[in-house]
């Protein structure tokens, strides 16, 4: 019997190669690791961003279409509206129903006594119908309000002048609204969630392997034969973990590249993101996210080790998917400047650095390396836990 001592020493490599090879034959794994996992985040992000930005731009710049009821009561007012660029639409049968059923965002109704009130110098009544619970209608409502106010004050000024009164007497205090929001700050919430979409891909990509190599082996009763080979359990676990990490990494890399490419097609500049990311930034991004592959694999393997079946493990791991969302959610709720510890803490540092890199902010290489090191250290610690769990006697008994 020929036996090479080195072969047993590199048993982890045999395990690694086998796990990779076996899982490459599984369509479910491939779809999760190479398609669904990496592309879900960018697609979701692009869709959300396109929708939000598109909506805001559209509503504030396109001609205002406004159904007006009772045009005959105030021809002067309606002419004025038309001169302001409003597209006056024909009246509706039932304005209230049209709003309720969301066929119209806003309807203007001129009351029948408008004419008589107007000529007597009394306030002439105009109703604005809208649904305040509908966010997309907000922009239109404020535009119509501003127009009506504008007409009212112009008319009021004229009346005062005719009576020889200075119109500015009416304005004891002048409030000037100066909205300091930028597209960038309006998109801040979405932007804060962006790192999660990238990090998530590592978790989705490695999930099947993490389960297959632990709970899966137990379920199909292939663990016992494996544990009685001369290869130590620590080496077997290392091989399995590295295979899981490879799939997680593949998923991450595809995700980052897909994201960088898709940035060219969505109006990211509106959010203050750099449209044209150079190769250097791409490399830095990969440095930031790569340790996540190892972290996700170890964490998932540890959790899956407690499960006896594939299904049970899947249930546990779905909850684990929510953990990397925590930093992003915190930043979305409370968009302050990151605390110093967040620059290096696992999951937080990735959230901070991904945003900085995509904005084109300079990030120190030392900080990036330190953060990568800390995440790798945590991943190694968890890998150690996974190995410990693998040493348990109950594991061999399948119970």
């Amino acid at each position: 019997m020929k036996r090479t001592a080195t072969a047993i020493g590199t048993g982890w490599w045999t395990v690694f190669v086998k796990e990779v090879r076996e899982n490459l034959r599984d369509k479910r794994v491939l779809v999760a690791a190479l398609l669904y996992g990496p592309l879900l985040g960018p697609v979701l992000f692009a869709a959300m961003m396109g929708f939000i930005l598109g909506k805001q731009q559209e509503e504030s710049t396109k001609p205002l279409e406004l159904p007006v009821m009772g045009v005959e009561h105030a021809p002067g007012f309606v002419d004025w509206l038309r001169r302001q660029g409003v597209v006056v639409e024909p009246p509706l049968d039932d304005a209230e129903a049209a709003i309720r059923e969301q066929r119209e965002d806003v309807v203007l109704r001129i009351s029948a006594d408008y004419g008589s009130a107007w000529s007597q110098g009394q306030p002439a009544r105009v109703d604005l119908l809208f649904d305040s619970s509908r966010l997309p209608a907000q922009t239109k409502v404020s535009r119509v309000e501003a127009l009506v106010q504008g007409y009212a004050s112009t008319t009021a000024s004229l009346r005062l002048r005719v009576r020889g009164v200075d119109p500015s007497l009416l304005n004891a205090v002048q409030l000037v609204r100066q909205d300091q929001s930028t597209p960038q700050s309006r998109g801040a919430m979405l932007l804060a969630m962006l790192p999660y979409f990238l990090v998530l891909s590592a978790f989705v990509g490695g999930m099947y392997l993490a389960i297959d190599t632990t709970a899966g082996e137990r379920e199909r009763a292939s663990l016992e034969p494996l544990l009685i080979t001369p290869v130590s359990r620590a080496r077997i676990m290392s091989g399995k973990l590295l295979a899981t990490a490879l799939f997680a990494l593949a998923s991450l890399v595809i995700c980052v590249i897909a994201f960088v490419v898709s940035m060219r097609f969505i109006p990211v500049a509106e959010l203050g993101l750099s449209v044209d990311l150079g190769a250097a930034t791409l490399a830095q991004l990969l440095l930031v996210v790569a340790p996540i592959a190892l972290l996700a694999s170890s964490a998932q393997t540890v959790v899956a080790s407690f499960a006896k079946s594939f299904r049970e493990a899947q249930t546990y791991l779905q909850f684990l998917l929510l953990i990397p969302a925590i930093p992003s959610i915190l930043f979305a709720i409370n968009p302050t400047r990151p605390e110093p510890w967040m620059e290096i803490a696992p999951l937080f540092s990735q959230a901070v650095h991904i945003n900085q890199l995509l904005r084109g902010d300079p990030v120190g290489l030392a900080t990036l390396l330190l953060a990568a090191l800390v995440t790798t250290a945590l991943a190694t610690l968890l890998a150690g836990v996974a190995v410990r769990l693998y040493q348990r006697e109950q594991l061999a008994l399948g119970g």
Partner: protein, 244 residues
Amino acid sequence: MIEVEQLTKRFGAVEAVRGVSFTAADGRITGLLGPNGAGKTTTLRLLYTLLRPDQGRIRVDEVDALADPVAARARLGVLPDSRGLYRRLSARENIEYFGRLQGLDAVSLRQHTDELIERLGMQDIAARPTEGFSQGQRVKTAIARALVHQPQNLVLDEPTNGLDVMATRALRRFLLELKAEGRCILLSSHIMQEVAALCDHIVIIAQGRVAAAGSPDELRAQAGESSLEEAFVKLIGSEEGLAA
């Protein structure tokens, strides 16, 4: 050769194995016979070092299995109770994976695998993924992967479980061939006929203890019964859990 002395294993309050000793010699088929739950599987798991005994000694070809489990495992081929295969790998790939884990070089791996596939009559299934294999095809594959490193000692836990008559006969023939090569074969079973037909030496286990041991003739003499079946029942002290 496999020697175990005074093996003891306790799981919580349950004492599964209580001082089991026996020797399985080379060129002989040794059978552990006992009812279900007698401690056969636990005894085997202790000797192939999956579990650590609370007390006792295990020697595999002069290697102390407790002091050097890795060296002991290299001398053992094991068909455990769990015989799950990797269903997306072919039968050959399943066998080769275990050969690599045993540290075989590429040339030996190829040679040994080809030889086992031929001897076990697996030529037609070797290249197929194991998903959808029959029970007999699974056991053949599991035996081949246990033997790929050509171990001197072979341990089989209930090897004929779930096999049909033809597959059982083929397996028996194969075990007799291995015996003729001078290998040490240790198998467990709760089926008297199987043990009687195959084994040179029988160790009867009941309630975690060795109730009796010897050749079939010796056991008959010991119990004072002319039929082996009656002898077994007498030695175990109950008919419960034994299959005819």
